[in-house]
Symmetry: C2
Subunit: 292 residues, 2 copies
């Protein structure tokens, strides 16, 4: 049982994590820290938090579990601030969508103060367009995957403890190497977000934007849903995973350029081939994906 859980950044993920652990009966007190007083107030009203603090150091003092759930760009600064205040036995996790940058920041901040082995990098695959404490819900992680990218310094006991916590939230835990994680998510998550942001931003900049959107059907709705995501959170993710993402963006632009040539030269056959390859691949995924 966790006596004191500190949530640093009480949004969709941090808030849902607290709610899920409460429901599982494995946490006694939850303390929260965040930038927005209004958001923290919402979190208290929703029963996510027992108390809020005005500094992040105060929040983590005496905590036996610290969950850093702020946008990844804010994580290095937060880690530096909390490091001197951490309890010796505290376990620290983050929930960011990129892992190599966070790990480097954790090494920089924690190695001199406490054992870096108590930091466990996590990535729950449970994003949504909605953000803030108001969007948090107990069931968010139910049946979802959480990817843990362990450090060589993590002990088996620490990893087992963090795994058990995610399982208590209803999630299944997968282990993966951090660089591999970042490359995979550049392709299947970060690039699609960028592609959707770009398409909607481009249309929104036109004088006829409203007429265009008025006629959008269900295909447009699904394709662009992720473009409603939190701008700062995604700016941070894009910059934190910049190298892998630039590689993906280049591959995507090259594929679009190929497609443009096929279209401009009326190449029916190769256009069919390209569409068929995509359609076949996406259909083979339907059973797996559309159930989750």
């Amino acid at each position: 049982v966790i006596k004191r859980l500190a949530i640093v950044g009480v949004g969709l993920i941090g808030g849902s994590f607290a709610l899920a652990l409460r429901r599982a009966g494995v946490v006694e007190t939850v303390v929260g820290y965040g930038r927005s007083a209004a958001n923290l107030e919402t979190a208290q009203r929703m029963g996510i938090l027992d108390a809020v603090t005005t500094t992040v150091a105060e929040a983590v003092q005496d905590a036996d579990l610290v969950c850093i759930a702020a946008p990844v760009g804010a994580v290095p600064g937060l880690l530096a601030e909390i490091a001197p205040a951490l309890h010796d036995d505290a376990i620290i996790i983050d929930v960011g969508s990129t892992k190599q940058g966070v790990i480097a920041a954790a090494r920089a901040a924690l190695e001199t103060h406490t054992r870096i082995g108590q930091f466990v990098p996590c990535h729950p695959i449970a994003g949504a367009e909605d953000s803030g404490a108001a969007a948090a819900r107990t069931e968010l992680f139910q049946g979802r995957a959480v990817i843990v990218t362990p450090l060589p310094e993590n002990t088996a006991a620490t990893l087992a403890r963090v795994t058990a916590l995610w399982q208590a939230c209803g999630a299944r835990v997968t282990l993966m190497e951090a660089a591999h994680h970042d490359r995979i998510f550049a392709a299947v998550s970060h690039l699609p977000h960028l592609a959707a942001f770009a398409l909607v931003a481009e249309l929104a900049s036109r004088p006829e934007a409203e007429t265009f959107f008025l006629h959008a059907g269900s295909g447009f709705r699904d394709f662009t849903r992720i473009a409603a995501s939190h701008p700062e959170m995604w700016r941070d993710i894009a910059l934190a995973n910049r190298d892998a993402l630039l590689t993906e963006l280049d591959a995507y632009q090259a594929q679009l350029a190929t497609l443009r040539t096929l279209l401009a030269t009326n190449d029916r056959e190769r256009l069919s081939e390209l569409f068929a390859r995509a359609s076949h691949a996406r259909r083979s995924l339907t059973l797996t994906l559309d159930k989750s």
Copy 2:
């Protein structure tokens, strides 16, 4: 009441149109023509068709309403084949996603044989990834928009008759100029399909494709759903609306290139701005779109 309805191309749209008109009690006999005998058999078993014909000319003979619901690339050839066989008073509609090309084909085929004014170009906004008669359902058009791009030769009586038929299917009819229609749908439908096909085709071509797809979350699922669409149907749409689509594709690629520069140069501020513009625009659409 329609005594004899001919469905040319008995897929999702053609099949659902027949089912909806039957349910509304405004059609007596439905005859179908299509390339696939297995698909026509399914349509008969589902009660979509009363009879099938082996030639398209046979299907439209004595029909008072002809619905051409084949991929747009096949429409010119079909129109040329049916023109000599059409009943003098027959109304002909199509349901293609692009309108200028179909209208040109209809003029070429129908002007010498019958009154071009009896051809009414329609576009029901009710696509789906599933295709074929098996995907047809009575409720497909319920609450959906159908865009009609009238010809100057259409009489008010003909337009009123076609409008009433779509309304009997539960749809609402909007009138629009054909060129305007094609430009709007290049932006909000054809480009998103191309963008999704390109992304999935690119990932599917990698040796690690399976690992990538295994870790795809709900964002990827929604973003790529339209990449499961019918390859030939979308090849035809892309080629039929090529000029407008190339313009959209160029604007999209320019926006992606801008985004790439912002990312490569670590431009936090303008990256936030671009994402925020997209997020704001998409959020303002949520109420309208996610209800449909």
